[in-house]
Symmetry: C2
Subunit: 239 residues, 2 copies
Amino acid sequence: MTRTHRLFQLMQTLRSLPAPVTASALVNETGVSLRTIYRDIDALRGLGAVIDGEAGFGYTLIEDATLPPLAFADDELEALVLGLREVTVIGDPALAEAANSALAKLKARLPARQTHRLQHAVLDARRFGRPPEPGIDVRALRAATWDEATISFHYEDAKGAVSRRQVDPLSIVYMQNAHMLMAWCHLRSDFRAFRLDRMRDLGLTGAHFRPRRVPMLRDFMERLRAQAVERAKDRALQG
Amino acid sequence: MTRTHRLFQLMQTLRSLPAPVTASALVNETGVSLRTIYRDIDALRGLGAVIDGEAGFGYTLIEDATLPPLAFADDELEALVLGLREVTVIGDPALAEAANSALAKLKARLPARQTHRLQHAVLDARRFGRPPEPGIDVRALRAATWDEATISFHYEDAKGAVSRRQVDPLSIVYMQNAHMLMAWCHLRSDFRAFRLDRMRDLGLTGAHFRPRRVPMLRDFMERLRAQAVERAKDRALQG
DNA sequence: GGTGTTCCTGACAGAAACTGGCAGTACCCC
DNA sequence: GGGGTACTGCCAGTTTCTGTCAGGAACACC
């Protein structure tokens, strides 16, 4: 292994292992001496990486400057931050956590000039009130949707009547006041939208509809668009 | 310059110059011999870069395998996509454009496995209706806020009365039904929130309040938080 | 203060890698 | 064929790297 190879390997290790990473862990991984690891860390620093090293603690990769930075324009960055802030206020704690985590990863890959902009972004998202709490585990629903797995649940409609449904979940849509599951409903043999707060007892059926989610979703969206156009026409006739 | 340094430099050059890049151009850039450049290209290939080299033509970087791809977990990716989709429906066309552009840039830096997930994300954002149209150029407002430049505008309050304001803009906040400018108002010598749809005739005053935006915004947020706590206490006393 | 853990740096001799120059090969295009 | 360009092996001299050893510093904990 050439030294250059090893330096690349060290960067990978510092990126992927949880901090702090000790020099002796790097010795075990590379097979070189402790003194060489210290030299290598120095070389990586010379290449622009910002690596924090505290005696008795270990190394932390602060800035990965050996990489070309992500090149976002300022307004793209503001859009990213605002978007992730929107997700944190949307009312889904697991998604909020993912959004914060994504934001931290972006931060690690931005040039220093833009880190400030990310931390003190001009745009912010706020909500008063919350949409009603989902009656099911949304993370499980997301996974099932992505896996194109048919699900079952109990659904309470606007009048309070409860029915058992089997659906092919296509998309989860976030609107101002409700979070909706767009799906193909086996009971109605048609597309239906379900409010997440009215769903209970989510389960997997064991059946799959892969690989049809994307075209089905496209059909459903087409349907909704056509209905919106119809409704606009009806309004024009009456107006 | 160490060899490792030079290898990094060569990668930067291959990324940034239009293909094809000749070996002699690389000689000119690095000051080493042609023979050494051939060796370096070989070394970069050994590190995983896919570099096409045609006699009489030059080098083309096909795959930049020396870079780790952006490493987002699946739910982080869904959060990013949902967030950017939220921004596209928020009612600000310039921001929507920036969001789409940011999405394209993310896509270019994801591993192939995740590109599919980004294109056919499970989560989506929708709005019925729109918040009222801003009465000013929001892009100019964003720039002024970032620049910490005092602005002036006419403001129509809820009763229809119009006043001229000079403010230090601190943040633009997006809520369900209104977009607000959080600012320090010179007329009232106090923090105020202004609805963007009630603002007219945005202008720069030439004055700046840099570098005070971040601490002022912190104070304003603290104020709002304290007021919310007060309001909750009042409700508890009455309830 | 003492102990343990860990980062840090300089010096040295020997080992390893690198370099430029040279020679020869191959491919594409005019 | 000639020009432009990528490619590879060889060699002597140069440069860099390595492990060992020694010494120092910082932090946490008892």
